[in-house]
Every structure is written in C-alpha cells, then in structure tokens.
C-alpha cells in the first residue's frame, strides 16, 4: 500500500522544463512577444497555460467549482502584471503554478477569516465515536476519490476548506491559525468538527 502512495499532496509537479534549467527558447520568444503586446502571442500564452493552471486550481478548490474560473483569471492577470519581473529561475508553468498556489491560499485565508463561514454550522464536536472506514476501502482509489469529492461538496464551506487546507495542502494547524488570525485551539476545534462531520457522511454513504 505504501508504495502506491502518490507524491505528497500540495507539492507541484512540473512537467516539461525542469526547474533550474534554462528557459526553453520557444518559451522565451513567446514571453518576449507577450511583453511587446503581440496579441497573437497573448492568445498562445492563454492556449498553452490555461489548461494546466485550470487543472491545478480545480484540484485545489474541489469541490468549489464555482470559484475556479475567477481564480484562474486572477492568476493570469497577476502574471501579466509581473511578466517583466519573471526571472527564468523556473519554467513559465512553474512560475504560473506558484502564483496559482498563492492565490488558492489567499482564498482559503479569506474564506476562513469570514465570521459567517463559521457561523450557523452545527456544532458536531460532541458527536459520538464513529467507526473509521476500513483501510481496504481506501485502496480503491477511484471509488474513494469519487466519494471524497461528493462528501466534500456536501460539507459546509468552512469544513470543506479547512480539511482541504490541512490534509490536501498539508498546512499545519498552527500555520492555518496564524494565517486566519485564529487561535490554534480554535482551529483545532474547527478541524475536529469538520473531521467528525466528514466521517459521519462517509459512514452514512457506506462504500
């Protein structure tokens, strides 16, 4: 089972030009043309990078598909504004994914700071123990994937985000607390409620 584990969640795997290597000449030519405001180059820039950025943002924001398109647009706007500061230390895609990662985390922070996102959420911290699903169940990745997505979509927004941030983005509770202006205890309580709610739904759905 361990050998089947994918790369740590939240890490960015860049295909194509590896980080640290010189920028491919066609990428350099494209960027120079975009900086010269060549409209066709700008179209090519969108064509080349919209899919991987969209895929990454969808992945990070799932199941909040309604937020994805606006965030992708923000990534490209920031990229355009900062294009002249691009240092070629990474591939263009790596650079864009870095912007996307920051934008996603900004969104997590903003959403979890909103008091209303935590209000009106049923306090399930006192819920009784729920049996954890069998480990074998997790082996079927496709099924687990589908079920996870479905359950995340059913959770209150704050619960879904806090679980994604903690486990899929691999941020520590301390870091999340600091970034949202909450105490670590408050963040732990929120996580506990989110986990309990998730587990109840998981159990309720069966396998």
């Amino acid at each position: 089972m361990q050998s089947d584990m994918p790369s740590p969640a939240g890490s960015i795997v860049i295909t194509g030009t590896p980080q640290g290597e010189p920028l491919a000449s066609n990428e350099r030519i494209l960027l120079e043309a975009v900086l010269k405001k060549d409209r066709k180059a700008t179209a090519e820039f969108v064509t080349r990078y919209a899919d991987p950025i969209y895929g990454y943002v969808s992945q990070r924001l799932a199941p909040r598909a309604d937020l994805v398109e606006d965030l992708v647009q923000e990534v490209f706007l920031v990229a355009l504004q900062k294009l002249d500061t691009f240092t070629e230390k990474s591939s263009v895609l790596g650079w864009l994914l870095g912007i996307a990662k920051h934008k996603v985390e900004d969104l997590y922070r903003a959403r979890l700071r909103e008091p209303e996102s935590l209000a009106d959420i049923e306090d399930s911290s006192q819920a009784g123990p729920v049996d954890l699903p069998g480990f074998d169940e997790l082996i079927d990745r496709a099924r687990a994937q589908e079920k996870t997505q479905r359950i995340l979509a059913r959770l209150p927004e704050a619960y879904g985000l806090v679980l994604l941030w903690r486990y899929w983005e691999e941020h520590s509770t301390k870091e999340m607390a600091a970034q949202t202006g909450k105490t670590e205890k408050a963040m732990e309580r929120l996580l506990a409620r989110a986990r309990a709610h998730f587990r109840r739904l998981w159990e309720g759905e069966g396998s």
Binding site: D4, M5, P6, S7, P8, A9, G10, A33, K36, K37, D38, R39, K40, A41, T42, A43, F45, V46, T47, A50, D51, I53, Y54, G55, Y56, V57, S58, Q59, R60, A62, E69, V72, Q73, F76, L77, L80, Q81, L132, P133, F135, L138, R141, A142, A144, Q145, T148, Q149, L163, R166, Y167, W168, E170, R195, R199
Partner: protein, 111 residues
C-alpha cells in the same frame, strides 16, 4: 487508525486524481484572452498588426481589413476583437458558431 492517519491517507490517495487532466473551458480561455488584451491595451497600444504579421503570426479577416486601412499605426494597433461578434459568442458559449481562420476565439474552441 486514528483521525489524523485516516485523513492523511485519504488525502494522499485522492489528491493525484482530482482535476488531473482537466481542461479549461473554451469560454474561460476566451475571457482570459479578452481580459489580458484589455489589460495590455490599457497600458498603451498593442503591437501593430503589420508587425504582428511580420513576426509570423497570421491575422484574421477583420485584422487584415484593419491592417490595410489608412490611419497608420494608430489604427493598426487597435483591438478589433473588442467589437467583434466572435468574441462575444466565444465568451459565452462553449461551441460558438464562429469559423474565421486565425481568429484566437476560434482556436480556443478547437483545442
């Protein structure tokens, strides 16, 4: 298995599949392009159409019309897409009925 282990394993086993290979909708690409061009236009004129063509990038029929119009670089640096029906359709529909060769909005739809 405690809570922490459960969620760690669940995240590790489901993350790789989420959104993998998912492609951006054509209408999003269209909107991205329009937004970027608007941003570029706001900070000064675009590269002129003759210069764009000279760089080896073919123009659409409307851009070609603009290219041969009198008025010099002021005209050929304008963005005709701003008033083009192809842009409007492409920003709102996934498969808009637009077919002009070398129109970026048509290209977004095809990919």
């Amino acid at each position: 298995m405690n809570d922490e282990q459960f969620f760690t394993i669940l995240a590790a086993n489901t993350d790789a599949r989420r959104g993998a290979g998912e492609r951006a909708p054509a209408r999003l690409k269209s909107r991205l392009y329009s937004t970027l061009i608007a941003g570029q236009t706001a900070s000064g004129p675009l590269l002129s159409l003759p210069a764009t063509q000279a760089a080896g990038r073919p123009l659409c029929v409307f851009e070609n019309l603009l290219r041969v119009m009198p008025g010099g670089e002021r005209v050929t640096s304008m963005n005709p897409c701003r008033v083009c029906h192809a842009r409007v359709l492409a920003e709102h529909f996934e498969s808009p009925p637009i077919y002009w060769p070398h129109c970026p909005y048509v290209e977004f739809r095809r990919r």
